[in-house]
Subunit: 477 residues, 2 copies
């Protein structure tokens, strides 16, 4: 049996789901093939369960901060109940997906997909094999955790980031998080707030080295983690691990040994072992094995697109959703919309909420701008003070010649929502002025943006926007 579609999407994670929805909204007949539970890493193992845990951890941290200042009594984390709650939540959200696909007339097929040609897909499911034909194919199979030879995972004592939730359920007394990236910073916070002794071992000289988050923000995050009781080790890597019945002995590169109940290895991602046949069709990959794509997200094989973690670029759900919108539209309409990760926000839910979007100062310099950073400490923020929160800050990167907004980094409360306002300003042809002219709620974090930009503009060399350099934001307002 063979069925013909305009667009076939392989993998129903964040990127694949969004690609299918976008293509269907563009009028395409769409099939979505998923081998196991729909939702991908984001829903099942990463963003969604982590956000639920981060919320609970944040309530714990806030209750602690208010103790003696308005709150009495004490709450503590119950990892077992949290895990059950999170699992029920994920299952419920997963159950809703098929209906949402059906409402858009997207066919959902369960089984393992294999590319038999640029337009032919074989699906092996519980009920046997079927074949699908599609004019265009969007690959969205994700990635797998990068392994660390000195620290092999056994799925029990030593686990990778895709088993973070199961690890959470074991309530480790002493946990080692290997990796100073976003996942390590988030995990250290979650486990610490739920009562674990946590050591975070980062290989480089700073946390979040490979993210667009500024160095100042990374430093403040580290201070906060340390203040909450996390041991942060920088410039440290693992030389060897020895697992026994009671725990794990870890030898570090500086010769020290540590003893832990469990170890979390969170050192990034690598391509999945099974390429589902795309290499045989001539789809080119980069040096690390990730699928190479053009700006339209088309691979080297015409009509085959790739989105999300399986290709090079930022590996966040927001980036995968961005990919899905671009590739879904291009595949459905044969268009040439281009990806632009400068307009995709990145969020880290740790003890200090972080968000960044657009160009950092370094990136802006490399792109030929004359970047200037407006630093807005929350120390004077009325809202930050009323939240009893240790202060954070906002950094706004702009071009000092034109006032064009280039990017920003937010450290502190509501970062995951406020980042959208920074992004809207980056896309505005009025640049910094778009933030200065806005009226803000009071007290709010947003008003700090307005006040700082207004004060800065008072001494600015130009009094109104000039023509901004195009091309930084693909679809500027």
């Amino acid at each position: 049996m063979s069925r013909g579609y305009d667009v076939a999407v392989i993998g129903c994670g964040a990127g694949g789901y969004q690609a299918a929805v976008t293509a269907a909204r563009c009028g395409a007949r769409v099939v979505l093939i998923e081998r196991e539970g729909a939702g991908g890493a984001c829903l099942n193992r990463a963003c969604v369960p982590k956000k639920a845990l981060a919320h609970a951890a944040s309530v714990l941290a806030q209750a602690r901060a208010l103790k003696g200042h308005g709150l009495t009594g004490a709450v503590s984390g119950d990892a077992g109940a949290m895990r059950a709650y999170e699992e029920a939540l994920v299952a419920d959200l997963r159950r809703g997906l098929p209906q949402r696909l059906k409402a858009l007339s997207i066919d959902l097929v369960t089984g393992h997909a294999r590319l038999m040609g640029p337009h032919a897909i074989r699906v092996t499911g519980a009920h046997g094999e079927s074949r699908l034909e599609a004019h265009r194919v969007i690959l969205a199979v994700g990635a797998q955790p990068r392994s660390l030879p000195a620290c092999p995972v056994d799925g029990d004592r030593v686990v990778a980031a895709d088993r973070l939730m199961a690890l959470f359920g074991t309530e480790p007394r002493r946990l080692l998080c290997v990796g100073g990236g976003a996942t390590g910073a988030e995990a250290a916070f979650l486990f610490r707030e739920f009562g674990s002794e946590v050591t975070l071992a980062a290989r480089g000289p700073r946390l979040l080295a490979r993210s667009p988050v500024s160095e100042r923000a990374a430093r403040l995050l580290e201070q906060r983690l340390v203040a909450s009781g996390v041991t942060v080790e920088k410039g440290v890597s693992v030389d060897a691990t020895r697992v026994d019945a009671a725990g794990v002995t870890v030898r570090f590169n500086d010769g020290r040994e540590g003893r832990f109940d469990r170890v979390l290895v969170a050192v990034g991602s690598m391509p999945r072992a099974d390429d589902i046949g795309y290499r045989a069709l001539g789809v080119q990959c980069d040096a690390e094995g990730f699928v190479a794509t053009r700006e339209t997200l088309e691979t080297s094989v015409p009509g085959i697109y790739a989105v999300g973690d399986m290709k090079g670029g930022p590996m966040t759900a927001a980036a995968a959703l961005h990919d899905g919108r671009i590739a879904g539209e291009n595949a459905a309409l044969g268009g040439h919309r281009r990806r632009n990760y400068h307009q995709v926000p990145m969020v880290i839910d740790s003890i200090l909420p972080l968000a960044a979007v657009g160009l950092s100062e370094d990136m802006a310099e490399r792109a030929g701008f004359a970047p200037e950073v407006v630093y807005i400490p929350y120390g004077g923020s009325v809202k930050a003070r009323t939240q009893g929160a240790a202060p954070g800050f906002i950094e706004i990167v702009h071009d000092e010649e034109t006032g064009q907004m280039l990017g920003g980094c937010i450290a502190g409360g509501s970062a995951d929502e406020l980042v959208h306002l920074v992004l809207a300003a980056c896309r505005s042809p009025r640049g910094l002025w778009s933030l200065a002219d806005l009226d803000y709620a009071h007290p709010s974090y947003g008003e700090e943006l307005g006040a700082a930009v207004s004060a800065h503009l008072a001494g600015f060399m130009r009094t109104q926007p000039t023509v901004f350099r195009p091309g930084i934001y693909a679809a500027a307002d």
Copy 2:
């Protein structure tokens, strides 16, 4: 002794402070006269202390919601400690004001101001009298709580909204809040979370009747208050009160009687009894006695401006700050910038956080638009689910012919920050498309805006923005 200034501002509340800062940034020599503690109602009695209490109350509510789902133990409110914390916070913020004024070379004079002529002010302070001359004068003396003849305040058992914090410190066992507006809705939440039995008596058929908050939002707020244990009575007013040593007996218009420890009267504002001399100079007032202003915030007397609660219009800190920016610039530069409250967000920090900006559906119809409301329930919001929050929603009001964004109302988490994004879209010449084209963090509340607008635009009659009607937002991007 007489000193000459370009601009004199009388009253250092939110509006007066902002007017002075704006005028100084425009290059004017500015004097700011304040009779008591700087900061006005917002800092000393309203927004700021309420925001601190609302944060603590919200942590209490969130901890309760997570009980059994990840948190064990229990926290409860400690009103005494909260009050001490809030007082220290307010005092600290107040101490910072003079330095911020000094940094802008604004003279701060303490004492009672009296207008002796359109350019002459007498200040009576602790060290005697002085006289100031100013080319232009900005009045910013605020308002006072509206009194209710059947419910006279005694400052102890029966208090007005300006004594809300002192009332909070008394830890009433049974509290009656008279008034179904923003202050009543906020107070009912704060006192309830800190352990009081609360009755909220609203005169009209719905809460928040005079605010731009939609009826659906008001209904949901009422449901949440009731679910938290607040008794909400609508269509009820007070006929008589009898205070004795142990409490207050209140007779309602339906004949019932209630017994309370304390009563909070929160039924709006009226002009201050002392007009500091502006009526004698010919400054005209409206029927209620509030100062009448032109769109430039100039009063009927040339060169005298009025901002904030003392004039007609919305009585929020955000509106006063808006006034301050407009009047400060106009007074300093002799300009003609016009106020526009459609671009001023309104926030209510109750058990259901609420925010609204721009035109409601009714207002849009009256303004000659063809309004359509996109209703975005948070029921499907991943972030709302991960927060364990009872769901809220967003309503987006736009013109169905052009896609121009006209306003919005947010009920639920992060409303006080997300409202800025709605406002930025209202000011964008791309209207609804500005929200559809944005990339959002995932999971976030912001992404619900994007998803709903994208789905809506798929069936929209136009495929790109047309020319929007000007004049709704004074300074559209």
